[in-house]
Symmetry: C2
Subunit: 787 residues, 2 copies
Amino acid sequence: MYERTLSVDEIVALDAYWRAANYLTVGQIYLQDNPLLREPLQPEHIKPRLLGHWGTSPGLNFVYAHVNRIILERDADVIFLVGPGHGGPALLANVYLEGTYSEVYPKVTQDAAGMRALFRQFSTPGGVPSHVSPPTPGSIHEGGELGYVLAHAFGAAFDHPDLLVVAVVGDGEAETAPLEGSWKGVSFLNPLHDGAVLPILHLNEFKIGGPTVLGRTSDEDIASLLAGHGYDPHFVRGDDPMHVHATFARALEACVDTIGRIQRAARAKGHITERRRWPAIVLRTPKGWTGPKEVDGVKIEGTFRAHQVPLASVRTNRAHLRMLEAWMKSYQPELLFDERGRLAPHLAKLAPKGERRMGANPHANGGRLSVPLDLPDIGAYALDVPHPGAELHESTRRLGQFLRDIYRKNPTNFRLFCPDETNSNRLGAVFDIETRCLVERTTPDDERVSPNGRVMEVLSEHNCQGWLEGYLLTGRHGLFATYEAFALIVASMATQHAKWLEACEDLPWRAPVPSLNVLLTSTCWRNDHNGFSHQGPGFMDTVISKKGTVSRVYLPPDANCLLAVADHCLRSKNHVNLIIIDKQPQLQWLDLDAAREHCERGASIWKWAGNGDEGEPDIVLACAGDIATWETMAAAAWLREKAPGMNVRVVNLVDLMALASPEEHPHGMPDDRFIELFTEGEHVVFAFHGYPGAVHQLLHGRPQAARFHVRGYREEGTTTTPFDMVVLNRTSRFHLAMEALRRARRPPEHAELLIDECTAILKRHSSYVREHFQDMPEIRSWTWRSR
Amino acid sequence: MYERTLSVDEIVALDAYWRAANYLTVGQIYLQDNPLLREPLQPEHIKPRLLGHWGTSPGLNFVYAHVNRIILERDADVIFLVGPGHGGPALLANVYLEGTYSEVYPKVTQDAAGMRALFRQFSTPGGVPSHVSPPTPGSIHEGGELGYVLAHAFGAAFDHPDLLVVAVVGDGEAETAPLEGSWKGVSFLNPLHDGAVLPILHLNEFKIGGPTVLGRTSDEDIASLLAGHGYDPHFVRGDDPMHVHATFARALEACVDTIGRIQRAARAKGHITERRRWPAIVLRTPKGWTGPKEVDGVKIEGTFRAHQVPLASVRTNRAHLRMLEAWMKSYQPELLFDERGRLAPHLAKLAPKGERRMGANPHANGGRLSVPLDLPDIGAYALDVPHPGAELHESTRRLGQFLRDIYRKNPTNFRLFCPDETNSNRLGAVFDIETRCLVERTTPDDERVSPNGRVMEVLSEHNCQGWLEGYLLTGRHGLFATYEAFALIVASMATQHAKWLEACEDLPWRAPVPSLNVLLTSTCWRNDHNGFSHQGPGFMDTVISKKGTVSRVYLPPDANCLLAVADHCLRSKNHVNLIIIDKQPQLQWLDLDAAREHCERGASIWKWAGNGDEGEPDIVLACAGDIATWETMAAAAWLREKAPGMNVRVVNLVDLMALASPEEHPHGMPDDRFIELFTEGEHVVFAFHGYPGAVHQLLHGRPQAARFHVRGYREEGTTTTPFDMVVLNRTSRFHLAMEALRRARRPPEHAELLIDECTAILKRHSSYVREHFQDMPEIRSWTWRSR
């Protein structure tokens, strides 16, 4: 390997390429016409509204140009993730210069007219967003909500052994918690079968209005911090371009050399036993580098004032307009672009070709690379359910077996991500053939832990989610399994991912990617042992509010339904699939055929569970969610015994979005089907897994929605028993039965007596659990008895 | 100052105290009777369900005992925050031993009967939760959702110059992103006027099922990491109690000495110019230390198997029962507790007295210390609004002036927390008298940045929220102002805080604390410039789902309403107040008196805005939110002009929860008032700030809820113009007008023509913005014209 300084000619060429990107960046922020400044700049050439972030852009352009050089020299396979995604114009400039942009968007040609279009479209209505985003070729990371660039980078690198992910971390982003928590990716990155991540911490010292912590931290402390995180940082700093080109090129070469050495050593040896120290770069350059140094006596370059648009009133202030012109001309566009406005040939050859261009790298359009999972038939894992409600099983255990064989059949195309509860969530069958990943020292006390593992357990929901997103967006498949309550930790990440998918709908060139599958287990109802902080079904609400084209919420009531749902989700693309089911032993209702059919429908009448299937029911008992189903079945059975003349219908719902209006969600059932299930006007006692508001909002506009009496989690709980949880939240079988008796069209004559009986049982429950610390025997041993 | 080894007698006494706490910890997990093991342990003495986390507990007990010693020796003012809050029984053991528990809960006496009660109540129905939680005296930090202990600790220390916050960070928690992002608190902690935080990183190497990253990281790398974060870590490691007592005591003394030196130096000098290196401790002890070493041939102590209940089947397995008995007796309870079951006097004197006990420290029951804000009269900041809708103002600018004077009048009792947008959010008036806090090197290019500042700008929503929570729970006041979309980053933290407040409702001994006030500005509607990733009103949904006793959502339509709402929120206690209003120039509607009255009511008919105030309207235009109000007013004005015969009523809603049923929320209006506003059965076109589902869910059960046609944010957006945002989401004045024309009881004869006109205008808008990059002049210059 080599380590050398660039020749003067190389530096000059590289600098010219960088100037071209800077020129195009400034042009996008300011110009709607006169792109090549062939005529004197006039106010009418300026956009009426100036939007964009200049501050971070020259640094991004700088790094991009240098990475291009490395790709060309080494034929490297590289994607570029931009933490400071506000620097959208910089990325657009680069993918335009390398030719990718014109291939994806043929109207934006590589000539003066195309450059004009590039400028005009930026941050304008009907144009392109101001941030790096789905429309930006080469991107899998939107820089709007800061903090996830390293997590995405590691996710992209897993199981892509030849890929190098360059991840630029801005110093604003570096202040966020998710970013700080994601340096540890190296403890899960295996040079044997994973690619590499090269973090470039780009410090320009300021965020929008003030200094950043790392910007004001000494090199010594930063070196110490990154060393503590497991990196060997190379420092590059300066404001003289020639000097910075030379030192950055050297640092970049050294880093890529080290990465190669680490990978070759591991691959030659065939195994690794501990983490290696991976390279990183710390680049300190002025904010708004090469922009206006001072405006009206106030310093701009190198201060927070360079964050967005440094010259804000060029349309009205003649002096500012001249400054803008001088600034743009300082890049010497006449030397960079030819007469027709095309990049000069000696510069164009500095960009990689074909799919080596970072804008065209297929990893950044992962659907193109994606191979469908080879899924085993779920029949092999199905529970035998000859009689409904007769046996208790941990439903997620069956899913674990399914996942085990998915690992077996798709060793490098699927990963499970989970804070630290794979076993606790009864998914431990995966450990029959896979191990937990930890690229650190392991000990004999560890169980199924190894640097080669692909079960990703890290006690960080942010990393689980971020890694999975990176893994999916580069074409692979996965599942994030987590505590229901703590899924809310990544509500914002899931929202941003959903928005990414929503935005991709308008981009036919983006091939669909495997769906984001989130399994919420350890749910609110069965966190009776962990207490109130662990009882929160709110993540569902976040998913529901997203577009119907993307959001899916499934509440399988038992193991076979869970298998049918999981099988469906793992085949789907471009969705956010939320699957909610608890891990504790639960009664099983449907055999596999019935489960498949039920899940296909989304919601069905369970005739066998009701009482009297002729004619209109007196009351409908509806349910969605495993515990809600269990309590509903118990209520139905109790009513059948106690009020045999009452016609009770039971409806079970697996696909929550079936409740939505078909105009709002493709799974929304038409009104006639809705009436078929829920009748036209009978009361419906609806036992629900989550906050009742989730169902209330979906019901709005349905025929006589007020007749739905939804019971669900109402923020009651503590460390108690499972049955006490449903009692505290007034969703127990007896609460459901009482509501049914009160609401039924033709209640039995002794309804009041039955209600009194329920009240008495609930009172007895209350004293029993407080005395015996467990639920009453008749609750614990309850099973369904069919008619 | 001194630094010495403990005498053997001191170590022996300290160890006995620790053993007592360990004994009580094990007792809580296992026993329902025979607390002092005065008779041979029998299965019936064991609880039927064993819940609790042993693994982390001995370490917590160890640290607590040592901190007690420091408090006694130095009369120190210390609170104890427990990151590994699963170790609830450890904290309960300690506050019981020191006598606090029996004072707060007199039934749990300091004798054998009380000990039995202590054991029985733990993790049992009607008892106390298994985690550190609000019922635990001395706690301001629940350890359920991991990651926030340091953020809470720094928040507690701000403006409490004499307080030392000991914060134990577990190595599971240390893996979370929020925890990693919170070490940087030292860059915002000023030894001049803030107290100190002493982090104790307690590494026992394992989480529930596998090793932790830091557990497997070398001391050298951890030293490097913590040094990089600005700390000087002291390492203590071992499994021999005597050795660890001696070395830990020395480390703790050294740390407290250093803290004293830093504070005295700063206070003697009267100012500081840079951050000092604060002490920290890294304590490595075995997981489940002093518990069973091996069970059935499997190693327990020092492995992940010690995480929860190491002997799980003591009730049925005789050998295990004997092991439990031997384990508990290994602490020599007969030497620790007297005949009556009281802690031996020579041990009892090792606990601090009165409010120096960490369980009784008033900072951990902050409402007791809380001083109401001295609030200036909002009249001073009110806008003069002689005519509604005539002038544009940035409403939040007025709030900024109010906040400025709150800072002035309450210099150490109020702080503003904000990622980095105080100025951008138009709250910059606070900088007239306050500065941004940064305890690092500052430069002449900085504006209003100083180590003495109390405006807390850190680009980390987690730190903003966590610091504020710590600040509030220790009795002070504050406001967190942030981008609406990115508030979702802390949805889970806000949920946990709401749950804390909900749980406090049943604890009369916990004095109410100032409310958590969150201002969402830079809202979805006016992030037209930042694009789709910045457009998300979902945080509101998180707040709505919490209990009515805690959750509040306010949508002031203009500056004077904002002032009235802010004034109310800053006086309130134990609420989570969400205030949503954008920062951009907006039309002003109400003068201060009208605003006060309107906000007091929560919702009112704006008679002056409607068309025809006699009799029942043909249609109701309702609105909640600034932009929703603006568009509704424009629709009402347009209809008045175009369809003067149509009787249009305008209802504005400030207090969103007024829509809820009075049974669900104390602000929910009774049905008669609801009908008074919205009529009994007329259609209501409801323009809403957030996702329509939020309103839909609140309306469920209201009279004829289906007649409400809610328009709000429906996940449409990009970088575009303000008006295009409402058009894309079908919430523009013309969409509202069309819906009104379609739904009105007696639509005008030319309704279809008017609808065509709307359609034509919308089409014209579409081409105009794409051509001119800004909204049509008639939109930009629109103002309200009164009748």
